[in-house]
Symmetry: C2
Subunit: 223 residues, 2 copies
DNA sequence: AAACTAATTTAGGCATGCCTAAATTATAGA
DNA sequence: TCTATAATTTAGGCATGCCTAAATTAGTTT
């Protein structure tokens, strides 16, 4: 069995590799809140375990074996988030932190029981896809909200899960995965978005919008 | 925050102290499956944290602060056992191992939510009392089954939780906390117990009986 | 092509928590 | 009382995983 730390590294490499290919030591270290020197050390260990491809100064990527473990941990994490949310009523903005600790510790049996209880779900409370038991993840087809144009309507697909305060903020607008909205106005010069959610107008700053990803984008019906 | 290892030591000292006062290094080490030298090391650390009273060669006991932490961990453990059993259907003989890992990792919030879900229970699936949030534990009034005499009837109060095979064995007789039975015969010379559970006669060996604790002992009605 | 800069790696240290082997101590028995 | 034995403690080592500081390297700039 791997250590919790090693599992965290694999999970992080997976996520960073998703958006950007090879993962540099510095980026990884920052993501894990660790010094680059520490990341180098762990990367070397993971390489000897053949979980990672690595050459000095050249960045890391996961091997198939490393990816399988990363997806297993991510599956734990997202099932736990959804379970805590649905079964225990843990608030939206609290499930990530809790799952972060539990993901390393639950058995395959408990994983399977949560999965069954939840009806074999495919997304966590933030809209992130849950890999199935074979490590197959749904493709992410959503685009950042910052790509939207005036008048377009869409549905929230996913929001970043790691900032609790941001999640509370989004929650206060009812901006959950599945929520539909329409862009009323995009202020020029990197300005905020004014959107219509179920008849309510809300203004969303660009920094916040960066963390919201949307689906089913449609141009205005009336031209 | 304490390390998981330190928490395990405190929990173990608490349990051993329950039945036998001062806890020797050797007993503690054996209970934790660790060498005595390692136990000495941790005991010293716990002493500097004032969680434990200790003098060389003289054994350990918990201070009030140490006891409070031990009870908190035990509360986590027992709530988790019951939760896993009731909410997720984890089998009787599997909850202990699972809870052993989770107990160090759940938040107070999740603890409280499980407690509420379970209706503020007072005993885990093995009949062990669950300390309340203030660290108050119910007195254990049960006696070992091996104290029973011919003809006496009683109710199972508690069974040891740490041996999965033993639990499966007891389960196969329906010997759960709350189950009533009557002693038909105690074979002489440290022999087995023949008991009547809801009309079924079963034979229970002494080694097994040592791990069963009973309540509400009554002498036979008809003399 | 040489030099500079920024990123990365190496070297050496520290805490945790375990181990083995050797010393110490308590305690019971001669 | 003195000694033998069994338990305990000390001493020294090892793996993990982090750190800081110093050296190295890649890649760009001049």
């Amino acid at each position: 069995m791997l250590t919790h730390a090693a599992e965290d590294y694999l999970k992080s490499i997976y996520k960073l590799q998703e958006k950007g290919g090879k993962v540099s030591t510095g980026i990884l270290a920052e993501y894990l809140d660790v010094k680059p020197a520490s990341a180098t050390g762990m990367i070397k260990k993971l390489k000897t375990m053949k979980l990672v491809r690595y050459e000095r100064y050249r960045g890391v990527t996961l091997t198939a074996a490393g990816r399988a473990i990363a997806l297993e941990i991510i599956r734990h994490h997202r099932l736990l988030e959804l379970y805590l949310f649905k079964a225990l009523g843990v608030p939206w903005d609290g499930v990530h932190e809790e799952a972060e600790k539990l993901e390393h510790v639950i058995s395959e049996d408990v994983e399977a029981r949560m999965d069954e209880f939840l009806g074999y779900p495919t997304a966590d409370p933030h809209g992130a896809p849950i890999p199935d038991k074979n490590g197959v993840v749904a493709e992410v087809a959503s685009v950042p909200m910052t790509d939207l144009q005036n008048g377009q309507s869409c549905v929230v697909a996913e929001v970043s899960d790691n900032d609790s305060a941001l999640l509370r903020h989004l929650g206060s607008f009812n901006l959950y995965p599945g929520t539909a909205f329409r862009v009323i106005e995009v202020a020029p010069f990197e300005g905020p978005f004014t959107i219509d959610i179920a008849g309510q107008q809300v203004v969303i700053g660009r920094e916040v919008a960066k963390h919201v990803f949307v689906d089913q984008v449609r141009d205005p019906d009336n031209v």
